[in-house]
């Protein structure tokens, strides 16, 4: 069944048991954004030291795709240099646009989200956390209510 594509075990696991969904007191950057389509809101918090994402966490509520994507993202980027995290964000966006090959090597668990490509509106759910990560790393990470769509 087609839905298996998108409601895979791994996605449901991250949704039901989100990793790093917690406050982060030592956060040096943070940003909150909402998905104007559904009102879902995600905050990404990170502790950046010497150009490296020491710790990454997220908060907020949302659908399984946005929550799982956020959860996987925190695992994927933690410990990496900012550059690499941004590269991965760009690659992930490329995968969602169907332009980057969804390989396990590159994306790890995140590859499970590749089925979302078939559902244009859900792509916004999947990239929300990544948008927020990018904005928080861009410096103007104040929790303003600018939209992403």
């Amino acid at each position: 069944m087609a839905l298996d594509d998108i409601y895979k075990e791994v996605i449901l696991d991250h949704y039901k048991n989100p990793r790093n969904k917690r406050p982060l007191e030592r956060a040096t950057v943070s940003c909150t954004r909402n998905n104007p389509l559904c009102g879902d809101e995600i905050t990404v918090l990170a502790n950046v030291e010497d150009g490296t994402l020491r710790e990454v966490a997220f908060q907020g509520a949302g659908c399984s795709i946005s929550q799982a994507s956020a959860s996987m993202m925190t695992e994927a980027v933690a410990g990496r240099p900012v550059e690499e995290a941004l590269d991965l964000a760009a690659a992930f966006r490329g995968m969602m646009a169907g332009e980057v090959e969804p390989t396990e090597e590159r994306f790890g668990d995140l590859v499970a989200l590749k089925g979302v490509v078939r559902y244009p509106i859900r792509i916004k759910c999947a990239v929300l956390a990544w948008d927020v990560l990018q904005e928080s790393l861009a410096g103007d990470g104040e929790a303003t209510a600018t939209s992403i769509h």
Binding site: L3, D40, G62, C63, S66
Partner: protein, 416 residues
């Protein structure tokens, strides 16, 4: 009562109605389409599709411009649609109907053309917390320019307007009361007659957002004594980009245009222009001619069904849906008495996020809407970012409700 509900309303022959809507023959993901998103936009009967096509294939011309035969025919069709809408809404004259692209543009026209002309610092605009963004944001924009102030009628826990503090909210400072006839997020039908009387008692003008009410309920603007009423054609079987604004003649007369351009003017000089009388003052440039002609055909179709029967069907199907959803364990937002609500039912099903629910239901051919429904104040009031919403119209059957309920089980299986 102006929103009439015939005691002995005839009922619709839904199967016959369905045969008029070509899209209902469609399949989605290999299943018959079960379209439960009519509050977002309704489908169109063949007659409306044909009216638009026929306009282009036989009578196409710009309205109110040409002396030639096509120009006269186009003008006549366009003005006939206006006259039909006036009758449909019990308006005293066709000239009290201004054509617009729909409710959003209509409310902006009032908020700008009337609001910016009349409102001053110290004045208050009273809205309700169940308004659609289209009846909030235009007023916020007017507040910015005029210095007037926005206030809101709050909501009760069960999705009604909380009128207990109305005396403090609706005062002689209140110059406008903006209220929906029916909430698209909660289904609530508001007590318009009562609110209009209270507003008029303090001298406020009432702007009714009838986007959801007009498709389902007979409305008599004269009996209601409403000042402005906005409606969308695409939600009442008409084409996209059709709809309008009813306004009392004396208010329209005082209103400034929102858009300037061709055909709304009388004379144009280098430094100024004089404008036509309503409604033409508000119809700048080439209008949505074919679309309003299509809306005329849609209204004719609704008149043939009979608005009492349309409302009776909505009420019956809503009652059935509420019952089945409750049985299935869904949490309903908004009132549960079908007598005071329409057929837009917001709910959460167990812990399944509305986005996920909508996606899974779609896999079974069932189309519902998930999101904040352009009513973020409602979402915030009830502490949820989003709801799932199933909404019904003249072609909705109990079997479709059954299909919705059956599909909920799939969602539960995935997320259990």
């Amino acid at each position: 009562m102006a929103v009439t509900e015939g005691a002995a309303a005839e009922t619709l022959d839904v199967e016959r109605v369905r045969a008029d809507f070509p899209i209902l023959a469609r399949e989605v993901n290999g299943r018959p389409l079960v379209y439960l998103d009519s509050a977002a936009t309704s489908h169109k009967p063949q007659r409306v599709i044909d009216a638009v096509a026929d306009f282009y294939a036989r009578h196409n011309a710009n309205a109110h411009r040409g002396i030639h035969t096509l120009g006269e025919e186009a003008t006549e069709l366009y003005e006939d649609a206006r006259a039909r809408l006036a009758r449909f809404f019990g308006a005293p004259a066709p000239e009290t109907i201004v054509f617009t692209r729909g409710t959003t543009e209509s409310i902006n026209l009032v908020a700008q053309g009337w609001g910016r002309t009349v409102l001053r610092e110290g004045d208050e605009i009273l809205l309700t917390e169940m308004e659609h963004h289209s009846n909030i944001v235009p007023w916020q924009m007017t507040v910015e320019v005029t210095g007037a102030r926005l206030r809101y009628i709050p909501l009760t826990d069960d999705g009604l307007l909380d009128l207990s503090g109305l005396d403090a909210l609706l005062t002689e400072r209140t110059k406008v009361l903006g209220v929906t006839g029916m909430s698209n997020a909660l289904g609530t039908i508001t007590p318009l007659a009562e609110l209009i009387a209270a507003a008029h008692a303090v001298g406020a003008v009432v702007v009714v957002d009838a986007a959801q009410l007009a498709p389902h309920h007979a409305i008599d603007v004269a009996a209601l004594d409403v000042d402005f009423l906005a409606f969308s054609g695409h939600k009442m079987l008409g084409p996209t980009s059709s709809g309008g604004l009813y306004g009392k003649a004396e208010l329209l007369e005082r209103m400034a245009p929102m858009l300037g351009g061709g055909e709304m003017i009388s004379e144009v000089f280098h430094d100024h222009a004089t404008y036509k009388s309503p409604p033409y003052r508000f119809e700048a440039g080439t209008m949505e001619v074919a679309e309003q002609v299509g809306l005329g055909a849609a209204v004719a179709y609704l008149q043939e069904l009979g608005m009492d029967a349309v409302r009776a069907h909505e009420r019956a199907i809503t009652a059935y849906a509420l019952e089945r959803l409750a049985e299935a364990g869904a949490t309903i937002y908004g009132p549960t008495d079908p007598a005071i609500r329409g057929g837009a039912v917001s709910f959460w099903y167990k812990d399944v996020h509305p986005h996920d629910l909508a996606q899974i239901l779609n896999e079974e051919g069932v189309a519902i809407r998930a999101g904040h429904h352009c009513a973020q104040l409602v979402m915030r009031r009830y502490g949820t970012p989003a709801t799932a919403r199933a909404s019904f119209y003249v072609y909705t059957t109990t079997q479709e409700i059954d299909a919705l309920i059956a599909a909920l089980a799939t969602a539960e299986a995935i997320f259990a």
